[in-house]
């Protein structure tokens, strides 16, 4: 079998007998810890709503918990942390460009709501 040798750079080497098996190998404990953190972070974001936090505090907490959860899933569960930079940049940089799209649509919506207020009497 060809197809790539072990990929676990610096994460403990497999015994020779299974060395031909490619792929990611990390202790189960790591996944359980991340799972626990995802639970905690989800609970936190739910509590933001439960306690009815409002304003800047609400938005910043929601976005913070969202990014932390997304980061944990991509980095550990999807093994992105152990991939080479060539793949990491190829996959993670394009979505970052979406922020420009967000900015464009924010201007667009502001303009739309302005015309609705000015010319349609708030319809």
């Amino acid at each position: 079998m060809a197809h790539a040798a072990p990929l676990d750079e610096g994460h403990g080497h497999q015994p020779a007998a299974t060395a031909h098996v490619e792929g990611q190998q990390h202790p189960i404990r790591l996944y359980l810890v991340v799972w626990g953190w995802l639970f905690v972070l989800s609970a936190c974001s739910y509590l933001v709503d439960y306690f009815g936090l409002q304003g800047l505090l609400r938005w910043s907490l929601i976005l913070l918990f969202m990014m932390l959860k997304a980061g944990l899933i991509v980095a550990v569960f999807m093994h992105m942390a152990w991939e080479r930079l060539a793949l990491i940049y190829a996959i993670l940089v394009p979505p970052a460009v979406l922020l420009v799209f967000v900015a464009i649509m924010v201007f667009e919506s502001d303009y739309t709501v302005l015309t609705r207020v000015l010319f349609l009497g708030g319809q």
């Binding site: 790539a4 996944y31 989800s42 999807m78 649509m105 609705r116």
Partner: protein, 237 residues
Amino acid sequence: MAETHIAGSIDRPKGWRGVSADWSSDQRAFKSASWGKAMMWIFLLSDTFVFSCFLLSYMTVRMSTTVPWPNPSEVFALNLGGKDIPLILIAIMTFVLISSSGTMAMAVNYGYRRDRVKTAVLMLVTAAFGATFVGMQAFEWTKLIREGVRPWVNPWGAPQFGSSFFMITGFHGTHVTIGVIFLLIMARKVLRGDFDTERRGFFTSRRGRYEIVEITGLYWHFVDLVWVFIFALFYLW
């Protein structure tokens, strides 16, 4: 079979030098990922753009409407034991999906350890969590439709609420459903020992390898990842 020598044993440059070396190597650019994994990542990237378009259009209609947006905290509240608990169903759905991601990650791990039974069982548990999630979503849709929510109207405010809701959660639910089917097919293959005997696939005729468990896992974690964004931006915002 040159790939054997490409990955793993060779000391490769790191950082930007590594990026440049990988991309200009005149071979495959993704040295640490097989073509199957790389293609799944690229598919997921395209899927990211699909969901981004949905979430962006939701943002646009919500920002540009002059009618108040329905409060999701109240819309998705559930009456349990005579008390209205805000957003409780969505919270449970979130925990179910996260748990399925946890079992999936462990299935991948046991797959690479060539533990056939544990891998298959964990994949079936993941599929069960996924099916539970879809079931709860069906319940939620039924509840909202009974209350009069349509893509063009709803009793609480801006009519765009309905179209955004059905489009975003519907597309996500479809992804979960496809993931459950994908998981069941792969779990059957694992259990049958296809990846130990390298039995050829019925469709691709390629030798079965445990790596497909990780590729299935990538898709499944992505479904969970999208839910993280939907939960934050649609339900909590």
